[in-house]
């Protein structure tokens, strides 16, 4: 097993005719993802890499039985694309673009909750269940099937960790890009229960960073109902104050909410193992797997 995506995932690529959309569709097909349809308004009837293109998500879903969508459109058009997918009843919508206006994401967030749709991202590398399927832009060669469930606000910190895990012979069940923005469609707390229920996942790794209170909320949830070992890294402790480091969400507010210290304290109290670097995550994972 794995979470969110697997061999049964039938994926739509929104923006398939764009440069990024086409390039990553090719990469996803190469990996074995079932990309069943593309959507670009006005380009219905075309084919891209053998994948049929439709004008609307609803039509694509009707004709192909798609059950997930990844949005490769520029930030300014993310909202309309996501709302369209949510309206079409697609249960899993993955948004990649960075620099999405936060008001747009605010609307998408609430609409998705209203319609019971799971949104991942924005500013996310997507999702990969190694050996089964990937929906996103991650360089998939570094991933390997296995038992570590990973979720990360940062793409680069995730890659670095995965690279070291794979080199150490430790594979991953699913890696989820939470995304680096202020409002994420799904947070750690939304993903944790899925890893808890997944038979394949033995250890959970969460890579958080400064800003917001999602790590603190995750700590509460972990204490209450997560039995699997959780290892966490919080990046940004020494980032310059009041300045966001490229991730719009990585900023400590004036009242101190979102500091690394507060997150580390809450997670430690909940029994989470705190790693102090990506390399340390790997040693912690090794220790946990050995003690199994």
């Amino acid at each position: 097993m794995s979470i969110l995506i697997d061999k049964n995932t039938r994926l739509i690529v929104q923006g398939i005719t764009g440069r990024e959309g086409t390039f990553h569709t090719e990469q996803m097909l190469e990996y074995g993802t079932h990309v069943v349809a593309g959507v670009t308004p006005g380009k219905g009837g075309m084919e891209v890499l053998g994948v049929p293109v439709f004008n609307t998500v609803r039509e694509a879903a009707e004709k192909t039985g798609a059950n997930a969508s990844v949005i490769f459109v520029p930030a300014a058009h993310m909202m309309s694309g996501a709302l369209e997918s949510i309206d079409a009843g697609i249960p899993l919508v993955i948004t990649i673009a960075e620099h999405v206006p936060v008001h747009d994401m605010m609307r998408v967030y609430h609409y998705a909750r209203l319609k019971n749709t799971r949104v991942i991202g924005p500013n996310s590398f997507g999702i990969i269940s190694p050996g089964k399927s990937k929906a996103g832009f991650m360089a998939h060669r570094i991933f390997m099937p296995g038992s570590v469930g990973l979720m990360s606000r940062s793409a680069t910190n995730c890659y670095e960790t995965v690279f070291m895990l794979t080199n150490a012979g430790i594979g991953q069940s699913t890696c989820v890009g939470i995304g680096g923005d202020m409002i994420a469609g799904s947070s750690f707390s939304d993903i944790l229960p899925l890893f808890e229920e997944d038979d394949e996942t033995k250890v959970i790794v969460m890579i958080g960073e400064i800003g917001g209170n999602e790590e603190e909320l995750a700590a509460v949830l972990i204490k209450k109902r997560i039995t699997k070992p959780v290892i966490a890294l919080i990046a940004g402790k020494n980032a310059p104050k009041g300045r966001s480091m490229g991730h719009a969400g990585a900023i400590v507010s004036a009242d101190g909410t979102g500091s690394a210290d507060s997150k580390i304290r809450a997670l430690s109290e909940a029994g989470v193992i705190i790693a102090d670097s990506t390399a340390d995550i790997v040693s912690c994972v090794k220790k946990q797997l050995l003690s199994e």
Partner: protein, 409 residues
């Protein structure tokens, strides 16, 4: 992006939030046109007038950046005193001239994007005029927070009459002397402020103080006025807010940040006392890099985020830009090669060396795509040391730092 008071007030005025009429004068205008423009402004505003420094920082009043003038002579003196002043490291480049209001009470009112509830949040406090963070600490009971569901039950979203009524009720409890007509006025302002917040992609629209002022022309002889304002716009939305273009380009920014932008790099100045610069390909990795380096008591002066897929030619430029700060004494490069290829990174460093731009020692660590090729390219470049892994990289950095007197503190 934060707006200065004059820009925030222009926005307020356009959206129906009442402000006093004011005149904004830049240092350049004053220099070109002379004191005449001050006198002319005073004719419109009347005396007593207030001269307010326009800077992007709080605490102007205490720093002497807000002064009162009773006549032309005083006005000219105040204006010249304030322009060019340094307030907490911000040089005053323009002033606002505005009438002196007769304030009866001061409140606080704002709409902000609350990342906890993921909703616009109305924040009201009956004690305005002071820093809201201070009020939150000293008397949290004085802060009333009201999240507004952006997709509301009435399908319209936005402020409902019950939101206003609740806030007005709290004011009446505290100040029974304030007349009931005030509630409608407050409701209008709240609706206007919320409208501006939504329309302009704001992170914050703050009126502080929202003042109840004496006004002979108004019903009851008093009315609510936004005496000061702070507005912050979502950086990711600045492009679609066309009215901001001129203002955004006029903002003073770090010259290296500007230059880096030309190549689509993000340059962020960090610790002004730091000595080393860090370059990487992703913000998460930059943050964890800074954390590891700071732990060794080495201070990071600036960072540069290459983003994904930088070519050798662009990396040469990145090296040139980041090393052009005289006070940066060495460079740490940490790359995880996914889309960015290690041979391109190495090639960029070689190009920088060949063009004489590699003026300071470099410690480089890379991993991933085409690592072996990259290693071949950098071997033998003087001043470049390779580290296998981030931990070894930081250890090398520490050795380098120990040999450099300023760092060892």
């Amino acid at each position: 992006m934060d707006l200065m008071e004059y820009k925030a007030k222009e926005l307020f005025e356009s959206g129906g939030v009442p402000v006093q009429s004011f005149v904004h004068i830049t240092a350049r205008e004053l220099e070109e046109k002379g004191d005449g423009i001050l006198i002319e402004a005073a004719r419109r505003i009347g005396y007593p007038a207030v001269v307010k420094a326009q800077v992007m920082t709080g605490g102007r009043g205490k720093a002497g950046g807000i002064r009162f003038a009773e006549n032309d002579g005083e006005l000219v003196k105040c204006a010249h005193d304030i322009i060019g002043m340094d307030i907490k490291g911000h040089k005053v480049r323009s002033i606002m001239i505005v009438g002196k209001a007769e304030v009866m009470r001061e409140f606080y009112l704002s709409v902000m994007l609350d990342r906890i509830t993921k909703c616009p949040m109305i924040i009201f406090s009956p004690s305005g005029g002071v820093d809201i963070e201070e009020t939150a600490k000293s008397t949290p009971e004085n802060i009333l927070k009201t999240p507004v569901m952006p997709l509301s039950a009435d399908m319209k979203g936005g402020v409902a009459p019950y939101h206003t009524s609740y806030i007005a009720g709290k004011i009446s409890e505290r100040y029974p002397d304030i007349p009931k007509t005030f509630q409608k006025e407050l409701g209008d302002i709240l609706n206007a402020l919320y409208g501006l917040f939504i329309k302009n992609d704001c992170m914050l629209c703050e009126i502080n103080p929202l003042a109840l002022c004496k006004d002979e022309s108004a019903e009851n002889g008093m009315r609510l006025i936004a005496l000061d304002g702070k507005v912050s716009i979502d950086d990711s939305a600045v492009k679609r807010q066309a009215w901001l273009a001129d203002y955004a380009s006029s903002m003073p920014r770090h010259p290296l940040t500007k230059e880096a932008e030309l190549f689509n790099f993000l340059y962020i100045p960090c610790d002004g006392n730091g000595d080393i610069a860090v370059m990487s390909n992703g913000s998460g990795m930059l943050m964890s890099c800074i954390d590891m380096i700071t732990r060794e008591h080495i201070y990071v002066r600036a960072v540069l985020d290459l983003g994904g897929g930088a070519t050798a030619e662009r990396i040469k430029e990145a090296v040139r830009i980041i090393l052009s700060d005289e006070d940066t004494h060495f460079l740490f490069i940490n790359i995880f090669g996914g889309i960015t290829r290690c041979d391109e990174v190495a090639g960029g460093i070689k190009l920088a060396y060949e063009s004489g731009r590699l003026t300071k020692p470099v410690i480089i660590r890379f991993e991933g795509t085409n690592k072996a090729k990259g290693l071949d390219i950098i071997s033998g470049i003087p001043g470049v040391a390779y580290a296998d892994g981030l931990i070894e990289g930081v250890a090398k950095l520490k050795e380098e730092a120990a040999s450099y007197e300023h760092i060892d503190r």
